[in-house]
């Protein structure tokens, strides 16, 4: 393709990213995987553009992973560096597990977008820039001394710079909109160009635009016109040089209905599915916080599923209300991010002492303190496993991807209701916002775990803290005649649940609480090895959203002939029963985490295995190459 014709250096790079198709020069080039990054001002609608491009990738049958990268500010002043919003997608004809290390194509809608994103672009990569925005004011705001498009500072990349703004205005002139509104169509023009580049069908987007602007035909037509104009520009520009089309084949996928899903969506769906499998109504008590709010937003639209959503005055009220709802017989759920979860610690203790089911979802973000609200991190594992007063054991589960979050949410509900215990479900900012293709699950394949409330006095009288084989206590709905009782946060007497400060009783209850939670391990599958063999030279043990980069890196390493395995832990507490033995079987164990080494602590404590930490705390996911390097280092160490 054009790019490689022009830049020898770029060629080698390119080869790694695009597998060439022998058939001639004029037809669209074929490539296995491409990483495109759309970057522009918060106001430029890059997330929308990315979302629709994602859809078209899906429709083209590609596998993909996306990574929206928002600014912390709501809508920062135009053209500022901190106001840049970006959306990255990695799509391909093979399994895709990450949003990609380095973009092959960067769409930069203004100087600030170029400045903040170009360094990530791999050498030889293509830059598409809107010269219309590269005026002095914007260059100053982006802190560019000279115009990068002209001063040759972009030499190591391919640059395709033209006045998208003007071209858009031109395209939408017929609809007689004001300048401001007209320019709003820039993103559709760009999307049109991208659709052409990657040989995509425009119709679905056009349908979507017409639906979206149903109430305003002018806007609809204008956006469609911009989309078509961008597409047309591609075809004409092609004749004249650098711009080339290429084609990414459909990825192998099992037949069926697919959709794209973000982690926030799939956790919401999973909670609904879990509640249905348990036969319960759901009460969700939440307080907005980035990046957890999306779950509150999704669930508040699903009232017909027997869901009550309550935006509380703070995180403490949110969890307390959820505990109240569980006490009253619904599935209590609360959700927040690090700082908010910290505030819930005391109340978690109450749920542990009163042994009520409760789901606490933590969408982790960069810390400590307010930290980096819009960046991803895994630094709340300590808080999840250890962060409460007293001996307060609680099951902890971690989702590894947007799709996986669905099953994790169901699993959390199963444990909470089958064991009468609060459960923490860990996800993070990356999973919450990232989208993946998802083969819509057949819900009939999930085994129901219906809750049975105690409704009559059992043989030998009613004891609120009597226990079944799993050490679970009965769940009684207030309103049930004959089973009146009182519970609270003071130590309970065995069986009766009365207040009891006696030494032996406290010892016994402490043992019961921990035995009950440890017993959850009896109901979870053995830990599996995802790639590589048991007893390999090196095990890479991950949890949560490090799944993608670890999986790809281990796959590549194995391909390189290295003896390495990938283990990914869903059940953080209690852990699968075979895990200790499994880990001791490997020569070496490394634990990559987006924190300073938290899962590592649990593994070393539990199994006395010399698990070595590999840490990245930058608010950014690991790249595959970082992981490959870590594997090499570990093996050579």
């Amino acid at each position: 393709m054009a790019i490689k014709l022009q830049n020898k250096h770029g060629l080698e790079q390119m080869a790694t990213a695009f597998k060439q198709d022998p058939t001639g020069d004029r037809a669209p080039e074929h490539s296995e995987a491409v990483v495109v990054r759309f970057a522009g001002d918060s106001g430029d609608g890059m997330q929308l553009t990315g979302g629709q491009f994602t859809l078209s990738s899906a429709l083209a049958g590609n596998d993909f992973a996306t990574f929206p990268d928002f600014p912390a500010e709501i809508r920062a002043p135009l053209g500022t560096l901190f106001g840049v919003s970006a959306f990255q997608i990695n799509f391909g004809s093979q399994a895709i597990d990450t949003a990609g290390d380095q973009p092959d194509v960067l769409v930069a809608m203004n100087p600030a977008a170029l400045k903040t994103n170009v360094d990530a672009l791999r050498e030889g990569g293509l830059i598409i820039a809107d010269t219309g925005e590269f005026n002095q004011r914007n260059l100053d705001k982006a802190k560019y001394a000279a115009n990068p498009i002209e001063d040759g500072s972009l030499a190591k990349w391919q640059v395709l710079a033209f006045d998208i703004s003007a071209l858009t205005l031109e395209a939408v002139k017929p609809f007689g909109m004001g300048n401001k509104d007209a320019l709003r169509c820039k993103n559709m023009w760009t999307l049109g160009l991208a659709l052409w580049m990657f040989d995509r069908d425009r119709q679905p987007i056009i349908d979507w635009l017409n639906a979206k602007f149903a109430k305003n035909q002018v806007l609809a037509d204008a956006n469609v016109a911009a989309l078509n104009a961008g597409h047309a520009y591609g075809e004409t520009a092609e004749l004249s040089g650098p711009l080339k089309q290429y084609h990414v084949d459909a990825a192998p996928a099992s037949p069926g209905l697919y959709r794209s899903v973000t982690g926030a969506e799939s956790i919401s769906f999973g909670l609904v599915a879990g509640a249905q499998l348990a036969g319960l109504k759901m009460f969700f008590g939440g307080y907005p916080i980035t990046p957890a709010s999306a779950i509150l937003h999704h669930l508040s639209r699903l009232k017909e599923y027997g869901i009550t959503t309550f935006q509380a005055e703070d995180e403490i009220a949110a969890i307390a209300s959820a505990i109240g709802a569980s006490y009253a017989g619904q599935l209590g759920v609360t959700s927040s991010s690090g700082p908010g979860i910290a505030l819930k610690g005391e109340a978690m203790g109450l749920a542990i002492m009163t042994e009520l089911p409760l789901i606490i979802v933590n969408s982790q973000r960069g810390g400590p303190s307010t930290g980096l609200p819009t960046k991803t991190e895994q630094s709340d594992l300590y808080q999840a496993v250890y962060g409460r007063n007293g001996d307060a054991p609680m099951p902890v589960i971690a989702a590894r991807s947007p799709v996986d979050a669905f099953d994790c949410a169901i699993e959390a509900v199963r444990i909470a209701t089958q064991y009468m215990t609060p459960v923490m479900l860990l996800t993070d900012g990356y999973i919450a916002n990232a989208a993946e293709p998802w083969k819509v699950p057949d819900l009939t394949t999930y085994k129901p775990f219906p809750v049975t409330f105690l409704e009559n006095v059992p043989e030998g009288g009613f004891k609120p803290y009597s226990r079944d084989a799993k050490l679970k206590r009965p769940w009684v709905k207030p309103g049930t005649p004959g089973l009146l009782h009182r519970i609270g946060g003071i130590e309970k007497e065995i069986d009766t649940g009365h207040i009891n400060y006696a030494p032996d009783n406290h010892q016994a209850m402490t043992d019961i609480r921990s035995a009950k939670v440890n017993g959850v391990a009896d109901s979870i599958p053995d830990q599996e090895i995802l790639l590589g063999n048991a007893g390999a030279k090196l095990a890479v043990v991950g949890w949560g959203s490090t799944y993608g980069p670890i999986h790809q890196a281990v796959r590549r390493s194995i391909a390189k002939g290295l003896d390495v395995a990938h283990i990914h832990i869903r059940h953080i507490w209690p852990m699968p029963k075979n895990l200790g033995e499994l880990l001791h079987g490997f020569d070496k164990v490394i634990v990559p985490e987006m924190n300073t080494g938290q899962l590592k602590t649990v593994l070393r404590d539990q199994y006395l295995v010399d698990a070595k930490p590999v840490n990245k705390v930058s608010g950014q996911p690991f790249t595959i190459s970082e992981m490959e390097a870590a594997i090499e280092n570990a093996l050579n160490a």
Binding site: G61, P252, A253, F310, A317, A320, A322, P478, L484
Partner: protein
Amino acid sequence: MNDMTPITKGSPKDWETDQEVRWCPGCGDYAILKAVQRTMPELGSTPENTVFISGIGCSSRFPYYMETYGFHTIHGRAPAVATGVKLANPDLDVWIITGDGDALSIGGNHTMHLLRRNLDCQIMLFNNEIYGLTKGQYSPTSRVGTTSPSTPYGSVDRPATPCAFALGAGARFVARGFDVSKNLTDVLKAAHAHKGASFIEIFQNCIVYNKDVFQDFTEKKNADDGQLWLENGEPMLFHKGTKGIALDVEALTLKVVDVVDGNWQAAGVIVHDVKNRSVAHMLVEMPFGAFPMALGVLYDDPRPTFNDAVVAQNAAASEGKTADLGKLLAKGQTWTVAEGGPEL
């Protein structure tokens, strides 16, 4: 527990548990407990549909002594727990038991928001102007100069006025009583009859750490001067009807007037209107001493409740929709990989 004995309505006994009551001998809480147990049978709710929810404090021990469902939660959070309970099952008759520290110190925010939202429940705030359970530190309602373990030289912060706080938070029912008052049951009945959040401040004698701080109006000998019992539609009279509360039209504030041979109209005594919010504000802030203590139902003007609104919205939003998750997941922008498609 005597949960098993068949409930014969109408007897306070049916509302007593077998738990030993663990308050100091002579504590005002005993009288309140008795008053509640006397009142319950007359409210028409059943023990199994009644839930007492408390925070932490001596007062918050209350639920253990009521033969109903009960939740002794954590310090200050009872209103939040109660909100979840009521929204999850609006049929339950929810009572919140709390103290001046529990409701107004650590729990002030939850109390405020429960009142603002107008959750249908009764809030009984036992105000003893002290932290009893933790052995006597001053509380947000303690008067300036209160010496306590944490204020050996006397407290310096201005106390909160619970009923003023409640009105400021948007309360639609505000009442006052005290532990040993025979009128307490009537106040409780009125609170229960009010649909929405009913806020009841009950002056309670902590005989160990804050003995007799309310005797200036609770004691028999001070009743005439000290107690202004309000009755809707009745003139605001006290001191055997020889004194009353009137509006000073110049200063636009309340004043005490003498009533000569029962002619309160002449004296311009205000007729209590439980729906008059402006007057309610003045009543709750009447400085005691210059004025008597306003007791009984100070304000009662119902508004739609939070739980009704939530239930209604849930129903309206569900109208004609089915809870078919499979359909939901398959909705929107989806695509199909055909059988013929590339194999795995």
